[in-house]
Amino acid sequence: MTVTTRSSSDYRHPILEYIRQDRLPHIFCSACGIGTVLQAFANALRSLNFDMDRLVVISGIGCTGRASGYFESDSYHTTHGRAIAFATGVKVANPNLKPVVISGDGDLFAIGGNHFIHAARRNVDMLVLCVNNFNYGMTGGQMGPTTPDSAITVTSPDGNIEHPFNLVSVAAASGAVFVARWTALHARRLTKSLEKALQKKGFKFIEVVSPCPTLYDRYNRHGSGLDVMKRYREISVIRNFTDPMKAEIDYRTRIVCGEFVDTEKPEFTDLLASQAAELQKR
């Protein structure tokens, strides 16, 4: 039997062609979930043989917000919270383009919350991929709109008293046509959902529950990044098409994952185009 081995110098990771290699190493901490999410996204692009000339990766500000800088496509890093508004401009101006917004829970649902609900309501064709690490990572681990009850952060040192958003329920109620939640542990299922979402027209939302071992999980004594992943394995259940309102997300008890919404609705730029075509005939 002959064994062929590849020397490390000529081995090329298959997703490298989707990545800006001259920007590596990336800025993310070790065991951070963002890397897993970006890898899943690159794998989805690869398995779809996605047309990289049409892809525009857009992000806001935060650790996750740095995502747009790592893809070998057109990409834009907006101010904090504004990625979806920028993506709307892109899609409306050139409906041929495929905007993908990758950003954090704080960026998309605190400062950018208004843009999220309105883009979902209009059903503008874009994919929004949210890394939910339950805190503001980039600024040092403050509480935010997804921080759970009683959680310790640097701005909730005595325990968070605010009620958090259930992101999938916000997305579904706002009108998203595809809504899913996975954890960073579910890399393959996440990739499959990303493939589905990338091929679907309309406003799609995927939440990825993700470790922030440097800040959130440390303050809350969740152990190492690996410990957090083990915990995800213990408590996550897959319940496709569960009512998003009831899709529990509680690190103490249960995280419900799955694809919750997959429906059809006329897309905004299609509606603009058909109305304009009618008007131009007159």
Partner: protein
């Protein structure tokens, strides 16, 4: 299909003229949020754009409107928004991003009384400094001030052209008087309208450096979807567009963002003068207020007084050289503006105590009367 350029004569409003000017300049995207006294621009665009192959979208607020305009501009479509002071306050975040990522875009501000909600339906010129200094950090913008319905049309085209040429946000700073006034508008034939488009890269994608400027300090701009696969960020970035946090990168970027306007200001600035050659008293006024000032100059000249009018058309960059020339024989400079003293500071910087500079401010919703101005002129004539 309707025509984009409505060649001919019409009797119309300043706001409508701005919308028609934008369309004539090639604008095919508008995002906005209703606000008095600029709403008529959005309404006109909502009606006109889909009929000529463009797109109108009403966003959830002005932050989103301005940001969507950036997205459209990067997607290769000339884009604008229109608002008033409260909306500009919200847009300032994105105006900084537009300056930082060198995005061509036009913003029409039909100024009303402020601060805050102020006087929504009244005239004002109190956002002159906001236009220049609204966002944080060192950057430059372009701002043009129309004084007639015709100029609403002409200067909106000019704003688009300069914005494309220098990859910079350009304001049309109108006041409510000009925005809502109705006069004759002449729209020339399409072929007679000068259109400037942004420079596109001439090198293949692998050689393209999205923020490497040419001699004019402006980098060629690729469009999303053209295969250039470039990255742009509001962070300090090098020529590749990549974030780099060292002194060298900041020093290469920020002075260039300012200097591309400052060093090219001779190509941008514009001013109009009336009877300034022998003027011993120089009036400075712009926008709706300049109409009163023109009348005051005529009345004063009829009485034998040597009065002239200097009207900045570009307010940012400020037409310094033109002002110096117009003020060459002046013993007094009188600035009349519809605010509590804004552009007067810029005039003082140019005149440098050589002769006294006097301010006639007005903050209550309508322009001065010619008599108000005459009173001040008489006080200064020995």
């Amino acid at each position: 299909m309707q025509k984009a350029v409505l060649t001919g004569e019409m009797f119309t409003q300043g706001d409508i003229a701005a919308a028609e000017g934008a369309l004539a300049a090639g604008c095919r995207f508008f995002a906005g949020y209703p606000i008095t006294p600029a709403t008529e621009i959005a309404e006109r665009m909502a009606y006109r754009l889909p009929r000529i192959g463009g797109r109108y979208i009403q966003m959830e607020d002005e932050i989103a409107s301005c940001t969507a305009v950036l997205g459209a501009s990067y997607s290769g479509v000339k884009a604008m928004t229109a608002t008033s002071g409260p909306g500009v306050s919200l847009m300032n975040e994105t105006i900084g991003l537009a300056a930082m990522t060198e995005t061509p875009m036009v913003l029409v501000n039909v100024m009303r009384g402020g601060p805050s909600t102020g006087q929504p339906t009244e005239a004002s010129q109190s956002d002159i400094m906001q236009a220049k200094w609204g966002s944080h950090g060192d950057y430059e913008i372009i701002a043009l001030i129309p004084s007639s319905v015709q100029e609403m049309f002409d200067l909106t085209i000019k704003a688009f052209n300069l914005s494309e040429q220098f990859r910079v946000p350009a304001f049309v700073l109108a006041d409510e008087i000009i925005g809502h006034m109705r006069e004759r508008l002449v729209i020339p034939h399409e072929d007679e309208i000068e259109i400037v488009n942004r420079k596109k890269p001439t090198v293949p994608p692998e050689e393209y450096l999205p923020f490497k400027a040419e001699e004019d300090l402006v980098p060629p701009m690729a469009t999303f979807g053209d295969g250039y696969h470039f990255y742009a960020t509001g962070l300090t970035h090098d020529e590749r567009g990549y974030p780099v946090m060292d002194d060298e990168t900041q020093l290469a970027l920020i002075p260039r963002l300012c200097d591309k306007i400052r060093k090219n200001s001779a190509k941008i600035t514009e001013a109009k003068t009336l009877e300034t050659e022998d003027a011993e008293i120089l009036l400075v006024a712009y926008g709706g207020e300049s109409r009163t000032a023109m009348r005051a100059v005529k009345d004063a000249r009829n009485k034998g007084m040597k009065i002239g009018l200097f009207r900045p058309v570009s307010v940012w960059p400020f037409p310094k050289e033109q002002l110096k020339e117009a003020a060459a024989n002046a013993q007094h400079v009188i600035v009349a503006e519809l605010n509590y003293g804004q552009l007067v500071g810029e005039v003082e910087r140019v005149i440098r105590n050589e002769v006294p500079v006097h301010l006639i401010p007005r903050v209550c919703g309508s322009p001065h009367t010619p008599d108000d101005l005459m009173k001040e002129i008489r006080r200064r004539i020995k």
